[in-house]
Symmetry: C2
Subunit: 203 residues, 2 copies
């Protein structure tokens, strides 16, 4: 059976880094951004736009040509639906290839449930998330801690909304995952080996 680890994570918790390092440690394939790029390629849309839509930010401004019978929001909604369907197909096709993999985000835990993945949620306190975001931010970013906290929360609200399209099990609630790991004050590198060893003996 294909071994699949899904990583859901709070924005700024280091979940993506943990997922990438975990895949490297286990010798698994790794998918995250690659899925967005593939959806963008197949839909012939801009990757940034696709990412916004797939992350639950429907209210992005984007030039869309539409007929007289459509409202602007309807077109966006239709776009979103098409992109979500495309994304789901791509994720399922990746799993069907049969390679062991780590997949970050994209509600993969729900989409690939037939593969009995190990579903992990990565979280941390707001202070750690702000610190991690600052460390990764462009030098000219001028957001206050409060603004940054708001942005972090907004991203997670988007993720939560996207999950709601697929399942009743709540995003971020421990009951929705097999394992939840707290990265507060942790160096992500130090969690890779413990988690990899957990995974090796879990499957």
């Amino acid at each position: 059976m294909t071994k699949i680890i899904t990583i859901s994570r709070e924005f700024g918790s280091g979940g993506r880094e943990l997922g990438k390092r975990l895949a490297d440690e286990l010798g698994f394939e790794y998918y995250d951004r690659e899925i967005i790029d593939k959806v963008a390629e197949e839909s012939q849309m801009d990757a940034g736009y696709v990412e916004n839509v797939l992350n639950g930010n429907f209210s992005v401004s984007f030039p869309v040509t539409f007929g007289r019978t459509f409202f602007y929001t309807d077109v966006l909604q239709q776009n979103a639906t098409n992109l979500i369907v495309a994304e789901q197909k791509i994720i399922k096709a990746l799993a069907e290839k049969g390679n062991d993999m780590v997949i970050v985000g994209r509600s993969a835990d729900i989409l690939l449930k037939d593969y009995k993945p190990l579903n992990i949620f990565v979280y941390s306190d707001m202070e750690s998330k702000i610190k991690r975001c600052r460390w990764r931010a462009p030098k000219n970013e001028q957001l206050s801690d409060r603004e940054l906290a708001k942005k972090i929360t907004q991203v997670d609200v988007g993720r939560s909304k996207q999950r709601k399209l697929l399942t009743d099990s709540d995003w971020g609630k421990k009951e929705s995952y097999h394992l939840c790991i707290n990265t507060t004050g942790q160096n992500i590198k130090n969690l890779v080996l413990p988690l990899a060893e957990f995974a090796k003996h879990y499957f």
Copy 2:
């Protein structure tokens, strides 16, 4: 540094079994019931009563001799305070011995925080908890699923109350722990090795 793993758990989630097996796998000392017995011994009170009080069930009926100046509830409250203090001393003394250990419940994650323990929370869905409780229950127990669910919830409310005496960090919220593990539909035995390997590489 002494390696300490604390296990907090929902009633019926299999957390105690997981903690015991984890200690055996790692060759760590294991403490749970032993602490109650020691508190009972030192306070010269009945172990069942001590357990009830330490689990947050203050409203137990118990013959207490008290002077005219005390109300019954005050005596119980004073008893509870004394027992909690005694318990805390015992837990801290265990840690001071310097042996690696797994300790289940008793807010040990808070009491022993200076030892930088690995704090684990074990949980599962109500269906699994009911199933596990039935499996362990005496043959003549006649509780309905609804009654059993109520009992399970009550025990956890007691645990939550006890924790509130020591800390603002909430019982059962993933933010209060380093790692949360879901035992829904799992055979506890299958989680021991993954968790032991996690712990080995965590410290």
